[in-house]
């Protein structure tokens, strides 16, 4: 027997449908439904009309401003390691960050540490030339060696920022995840308190598997934030809510297109409003 005030079942079913179709996932959607019923029962929500507004306010609090800022090192270079699964948008996101920092008057250096995929170095090289930033490319096939050299170059050339692009890899490929850990360790050894930021690039169209990705990459390289790419599509990217809950990672940037200008700092208000639009 359920006693006390209850929110209308049709309203809650409709809300659940909205959340699931925004990639919140079943578990998050169910939890939200229970939390809203509890809030309604003890009158923190006035009426059924107030449910969406209440939920939006709660969700906007998920990403406080402190979490969203990029950590800059007191002594340059600040090192940003960029990783993620195949095709997520890493190389393009590195170009976007390079352009952002250059526009702020910073001296930027790129490390082309994807030594595996066809034309990966060429792709980043073209971006470096278009934006007008330095790039360190290796000659061999060891990404750790490229990163080692890039750290030396960044320090030697007094770069403010070193952005490290890495090869796409599945979080289920243990050897490649170990390779990524090794890359992170090289950076940590070469530059004090580096990497200062470790960004996981997530494709906004990804479903529940993004949670597995976040957990595995966090375990391998201690991810500090998410770069949510391809949010200019029709996918809502609600998966970052579950990731905040389960893996405790903030979103720092969103990708909104294919040129180096198509990046914005993550805006929780705008993001939450769009989830329910």
């Amino acid at each position: 027997l359920v006693s006390g005030r209850q929110l209308d079942e049709d309203l809650m079913d409709e809300l659940e449908a909205t959340l699931i179709q925004a990639d919140f996932g079943v578990a998050s959607a169910m939890k939200i439904r229970q939390d809203l019923q509890a809030a309604f029962k003890d009158k923190r929500i006035g009426s059924g009309d107030d449910v969406i507004g209440f939920l939006k306010d709660e969700l906007k609090k998920y990403w406080p401003p402190a979490d969203r800022s990029l950590r800059i090192s007191p002594t340059p270079p600040t090192v940003v390691l960029v990783a993620g699964i195949n095709g997520a948008g890493k190389t393009t996101s590195v170009a976007k960050l390079a352009y952002q920092f250059k526009s702020e008057g910073k001296k930027v250096c790129l490390a082309a540490a994807d030594t595996f995929r066809a034309a990966a170095v060429e792709q980043l090289d073209i971006w470096a030339n278009r934006i007008g930033v330095e790039i360190v490319k290796g000659s061999g096939s060891d990404p750790a060696a490229v990163v080692y050299d890039a750290c030396d170059a960044a320090v030697g050339r007094k770069a403010d920022i070193l952005l490290v692009d890495t090869a796409g890899r599945l979080h289920t490929q243990d050897n490649l995840m170990r390779e990524l850990t090794k890359i992170r360790n090289v950076v940590a050894k070469k530059i004090p308190s580096a990497p200062h930021e470790v960004l996981l690039v997530l494709d906004a169209t990804t479903g529940q598997n993004a949670i597995n990705q976040a957990k595995a990459f966090a375990a391998a390289i201690d991810v500090t934030g998410i770069f949510l790419a391809k949010l200019d599509g029709t996918a809502k990217g609600g998966i970052v809510v579950a990731i905040r809950n389960e893996v405790n990672l903030p979103v720092k940037f969103v990708g909104l297109g294919e040129t180096y200008e198509d990046v914005e700092p993550f805006d929780p208000d705008q993001f939450v409003e769009a989830l329910f639009a």
Binding site: I20, D23, E122, G207, A235
Partner: protein, 292 residues
């Protein structure tokens, strides 16, 4: 597993006496939850569950001695039937060339899949040629050229050309001149809501009249899979779908969503970055992977 969940649900229900139609409807919630957790689209999952309930009632689950087992069989059969029929054949035309075009969202695996298809088609005794019609992504043409070298097939490209429709059209003359009997066209990744880019894809198709247009879709796509698949199918009239990155631990519910919304066969799955990592699609294996 779904089998255990159904057994539990029906054991509890039959404990209170006869199983009813309502019991069957309630038990299907287990399936719906499994599908949603596997990223099957919300509306597709609902429709599938309604379908299963009708089948279950029709097959008189409520009179069965083992209702849980029968439910699992019905769910599996329905899902397998929906995912199929399986059709990995590439339909070669006579006279050649057979023209194949790949399209899809950014980063889904098109360029790599072009290489995989070329390798498969060579093994089937044909002489394919790759065509570089992504003129916008930095080093996309270089990427395809390297892939062509790795597979051992020619890659047609036009230096300095900005219009992919021209490249596509010219490639047909090149194929005729060099005796290539299959033409595989790689295109730029594009959003289904980008009108200019969708028109470009239509124009490439109009200029070359492909015999096969495949949508290349990432296996880990979530709820949005139906939106892009529906639009690509409406604009390009797909002949098939290829799902990539199935070597991950993604459940792959996008496969059911895309099949349900386009009705087009899933021909192959990509299971790795190397160019031999293309497999035929198996509906029954996909069904059990989605159900989890």
């Amino acid at each position: 597993s779904l089998t255990n969940k159904f057994s539990d649900v029906f054991r509890r229900m039959s404990g209170r006496g006869k199983i009813t139609e309502q019991n069957v409807r309630e038990s299907i919630q287990q399936v719906r939850q499994a599908l949603l957790e596997a990223d099957v689209n919300y509306k597709v999952a609902r429709q599938f569950c309604d379908q299963v309930v009708q089948k279950a009632i029709g097959q008189e689950v409520i009179k069965s001695l083992h209702p849980g087992q029968l439910m699992v069989k019905i769910v599996n059969d329905e899902l397998t039937a929906l995912m199929g029929p399986v059709d990995p054949r590439i339909y070669y035309v006579s006279p050649p060339p057979t023209i194949i075009m790949l399209a899809g969202l950014q980063g889904s695996g098109k360029t790599t899949t072009c290489g995989k298809l070329a390798k498969l088609i060579m093994h089937q005794g044909k002489h394919p040629m790759l065509v570089a019609c992504d003129l916008q992504r930095p080093a996309a043409v270089d990427q395809l050229t390297i892939i062509g070298q790795q597979v051992g097939v020619p890659v047609f490209r036009i230096e300095g050309e900005k219009n992919p429709v021209k490249v596509a059209r010219s490639s047909l003359d090149q194929a005729a001149a060099t005796g290539r009997d299959v033409v595989i066209i790689d295109t730029a990744g594009r959003l289904h809501i980008d009108e200019e880019m969708m028109k470009q894809a239509e124009d490439i198709a109009k200029a070359t009249r492909p015999h096969q247009i495949y949508l290349v879709c990432d296996a880990m796509t979530g709820q949005d899979a139906v939106n892009s698949a529906r639009e690509f199918n409406q604009r390009l009239e797909l002949d098939g779908v290829i799902l990539t990155k199935f070597d991950s631990d993604a459940r792959g519910g996008a496969a059911l969503s895309v099949k349900a919304v386009t009705g087009k066969p899933i021909k192959f799955i990509g299971v790795g970055e190397k160019l031999d990592r293309l497999e035929e699609f198996h509906a029954d294996r996909m069904a059990s992977r989605i159900l989890g």
